[in-house]
């Protein structure tokens, strides 16, 4: 096994990981930084984000307004101190990205342009046409090349954290190209490993979004917070889950049912806004949870269209005209044309809600520190929590920047203040145990169980039991099924025995992580007997602030037991829980 | 690493390529095919007429411009093409190509100026 010694290890080179790496390099050029990623940085899923990143810069906007949009959008489950901090730092971070060369779209006077987004009262989403995440990721990646202190380990699959005496002292990883185990001994580790939407069958998430980092932290004893909150994006292409950005609606796209009727007005988001003149925070610019739920109701009423990929409604952009579509939404036009054969200039695009984002994740405080000393987390894998029960579109790209940087600063402070040093011998013992566990996967007897088979069963149970609407029965069945699948995973063997670029072993490990996480989602959902944001229970349809204005905390209890679910108070500073109003009334 | 010296020849190559594209097809058609085939009549390109026309200074300049630029365009591209055919002695090839272009330039220059 190869040993690498470093000051800070970052797991994940998406938006959050790269931002953290740059912040570390800038904080102290003498630090040694090791950036591990299971794919080359520019393949990270941040590249798929289309719509944009929220931050207050325009004179008609205010920090307070961004605050109340975010907290209300999150159904008051956000920690308000975290939101406040996030909103204050957002404009600075976005401007910094501009200085690094991000090609933000512009107004005619040369200033940065902003576009409207769902759940936002004022236009504040910075965008780079409809490839915002792509440009953010590449800007960060290319900028990171400036700093020789950042040592990258590309295509290195991290499997476990190394914990010595209750402190995180590094991580273990498989170098894909050789199959060799590597132990990275570090004084601090920052997890930036992204979300885990791949536990659902229909998702906008790429193949790499399997929640490995969340599972690593969970197994190391860090609670996962608010895992039941899984965001469905209302406008995905049904065949592949490819996302048509919320920017489509921001620019004036509307949703219609099979009769061409704009059904959102029937679900508390009316009155109907005039075509081509979207009104902020109503109708199509309501928040994602509401829109996805409205779809479900339309489906129950038989108002959806049947396609070969299941039930759909229409996204109608025809009234925008070709010129505007080409200027603002060229990428999604191409996507819809290629993958669904529909040209949005002339036709309505069939769409359906698809799993998009995990509000929950590794429990951190506002300094991005987890309860486990030496471990920090940022990005989609973390839950700070600014997203509460429902993330507002375009807040998470900004979150990567703000908390990626904060995680780096906290890690530096932690190293300096506590004067930690790595216990090499103990770390090595831990790593050796991990290596033995991985090797054992290859020695399991080859049975009938296949990765694809188990994965499909996980898809079916998650989609069926833990989807947009849930109830006691569906969740009980799902948790039971997941417990069974976790058992069966123990017998799953790696069929490909070779060392070089063994994607088989990678998929087995990823599936293991997803099953652990799926169980925390279902168990947390089962325990939360209320409806809030993206978590909607058919048997408990109201929000219950007396019992559940709390974060759920899922803790690991071993390979065979389901998680323990506890609760943590939500931090409320200035906004008491109120009614989420998307009817266009003045607030 | 030192910057390449190719800009010296590339400028000529690019201008020459443009000149060649505009003029050479018609030139070949007229002077290489139509005249020899007698389309323009027996007396086309007769010595008297040609030398009279080339006697004009502006004509001299245009003709020389076309010939010389096109030659350099061709020389540079032949050099690259040799490489593409697998001949890897680039220094030698370059010397031969540009050398030939230089000689022919001198030839054309002497010829035109003497008329």
């Amino acid at each position: 096994m190869e040993t690498i010694q470093t000051d800070v290890a970052i797991v994940g080179a998406g938006g959050a990981g790269l931002r953290a790496a740059i912040a570390l390099a800038e904080a102290d050029p003498g630090l040694s930084i090791t950036l591990l990623s299971k794919v080359y940085p520019m393949r990270s899923h941040t590249c798929a984000a289309e719509g944009g990143a929220a931050g207050v810069i325009k004179p008609d906007d205010s920090l307070d307004q961004h605050f109340s949009d975010t907290v209300g959008g999150g159904d008051w489950l956000c920690d308000q101190d975290a939101v406040e901090l996030f909103i204050n730092e957002a404009p600075r971070e976005l401007t910094r990205l501009e200085h690094w060369g991000c090609p933000w779209s512009r107004e005619t006077d040369g200033s940065v342009a902003v576009r409207p987004f769902g759940g936002m009262k004022i236009k504040r989403t910075w965008f780079a046409a409809d490839k915002s995440g792509f440009h953010i990721l590449h800007t960060l990646f290319q900028t990171s090349l400036k700093y020789p202190a950042i040592k990258r380990l590309d295509e290195v699959f991290t499997t476990d954290l190394i914990v010595v005496d209750g402190k995180v002292q590094g991580c273990c990883a498989i170098e894909m190209r050789t199959g060799q185990m590597i132990q990275v001994q570090a004084k601090a580790v920052i997890l930036c490993s992204g979300g885990g939407g791949r536990m659902f069958p229909f998702t906008t998430n790429g193949a790499i979004k399997t929640g490995d980092g969340m599972a690593m932290a969970y197994r190391a004893g860090v609670p996962l917070k608010d895992m039941e909150f899984v965001q469905y994006h209302p406008t995905g292409l049904p065949s592949t889950g490819i996302l048509l950005t919320e920017g489509c609606r921001g620019e004036g796209g509307v949703l219609r049912n099979k009769d061409g009727y704009r059904y959102l007005q029937d679900y508390g988001m009316g009155p109907e806004s005039p075509l081509g003149e979207p009104v902020l925070k109503t109708m199509e610019l309501g928040p994602r949870d509401r829109l996805s739920q409205a779809f479900w109701h339309e489906q129950q009423k038989g108002n959806t269209i049947q396609t070969q990929w299941g039930d759909c409604v229409y996204l109608d952009l025809r009234h925008l005209g070709e010129a505007k579509i080409n200027e603002r939404l060229p990428f999604v036009r191409d996507l819809a044309k290629s993958y669904s054969g529909v040209d949005m200039v002339t036709d309505m695009v069939p769409i359906r809600p698809v799993v998009h984002y995990m509000m929950g994740g590794i429990h951190t405080d506002i300094t991005a520190a987890t309860p486990l000393p030496g471990l920090f987390a940022a990005g989609e894998c973390a839950c700070v929590s600014i997203n509460g029960a429902n993330r507002l579109g375009s807040n998470s790209l900004t979150e990567l920047l703000v908390f990626g940087r904060r995680a780096a600063e906290s890690a530096v402070a932690y190293i300096k203040d506590s004067g930690v040093s790595v216990d090499g011998a103990a770390a090595n013992r831990e790593a050796t145990a991990v290596e033995a566990r991985i090797r054992a996967l290859f020695d399991r007897p080859e049975g009938d169980e296949t990765t694809a088979g188990l994965r499909q069963e996980m898809f079916d149970t998650m989609e069926g039991g833990a989807g947009i609407y849930r109830d006691e029965a569906s969740l009980t069945a799902t948790t039971a099924k997941l417990a069974e699948l976790r058992q069966r995973w123990q017998t799953l063997s790696v069929r490909d025995k070779s060392a070089v670029f063994n994607t088989d072993v990678m998929q087995v490990l990823e599936l293991g992580a997803m099953l652990d996480l799926a169980e925390t989602v279902a168990s947390s959902a089962l325990e939360r007997k209320e409806s809030r944001g993206s978590h909607q229970r058919l048997d408990h349809t109201e929000r219950d602030d007396t019992r559940y204005l709390k974060h759920s905390m899922a803790s690991y209890r071993g390979e065979t037991a389901p998680p323990a679910i506890d609760y943590l108070d939500v931090t409320i500073t200035k906004s008491q829980p109120g009614v989420r109003d998307y009817s266009g009334a003045k607030s | 690493m030192a910057k390449s010296n190719k800009p010296i020849v590339w400028g000529l190559f690019a201008v020459g390529g443009t000149v060649a594209a505009f003029c050479v097809p018609a030139l070949i058609l007229a002077h290489g095919l139509l005249v020899p085939l007698g389309v323009f009549g027996e007396n086309a390109l007769s010595y008297e007429r040609v030398s009279a026309v080339i006697g004009f200074l502006p004509v001299k300049i245009v003709v020389l411009g076309v010939v010389i630029l096109t030659l350099w365009h061709a020389a540079h591209r032949i050099r690259v093409t040799m490489h593409d055919f697998g001949i890897r002695k680039d220094d030698m090839v370059a010397m031969l190509c540009y050398g030939a272009a230089g000689l022919l330039t001198a030839t054309a220059l002497l010829g035109v100026m003497a008329v």
């Binding site: - | 594209a21 097809p25 018609a26 085939l37 007429r49 096109t70 030939a100 022919l104 030839t107």
Partner: protein
């Protein structure tokens, strides 16, 4: 170490046989040989012109030999091919600003073709009357 990356060699002298795109490229490049030879001939011709009427007439006679004619047919084909590839590629290198964008590529290409037609006509007429 179990890595053993496999390098597929590229044949240095026949690589362009692999696909049509490369063959078209090579045809374009080879055009330079014909254009160069033609120009060499022309340069010689100018020299002959300076040497007097006899030399010039011998040159004209040589031009009408079958060999010369075959060469010129080929050269004409290659030169024309060169011209089309050159004009089609100009918008790539030369971008002319037009408002908040550039003059569209096809427009630039069409303008070149129009000018080409004009220049060719002038050349034909001039040679014809001389």
């Amino acid at each position: 170490m179990s890595r053993k990356p496999f390098v597929r060699p590229v044949p240095a002298t026949t690589w362009y046989m692999r696909n049509g795109r490369y063959l078209r490229y090579m045809a374009r490049e080879v055009s330079s040989l014909f254009i160069g030879l033609y120009m060499a001939g022309l340069a010689m011709g100018l020299m002959r012109l300076a040497q007097g009427p006899d030399a010039w007439n011998a040159y004209l006679t040589a031009l009408s030999s079958p060999l010369a004619l075959v060469f010129h047919v080929l050269a004409f084909a290659f030169a024309t091919y060169h011209a089309t590839t050159w004009f089609n590629a100009t918008p790539k290198a030369m971008r002319i600003r037009w408002g908040d964008g550039y003059v569209p590529g096809p427009t630039v290409v069409r303008a070149h073709y129009a000018l080409w037609g004009l220049v060719s006509l002038v050349i034909l007429v001039l040679v014809g009357v001389i």
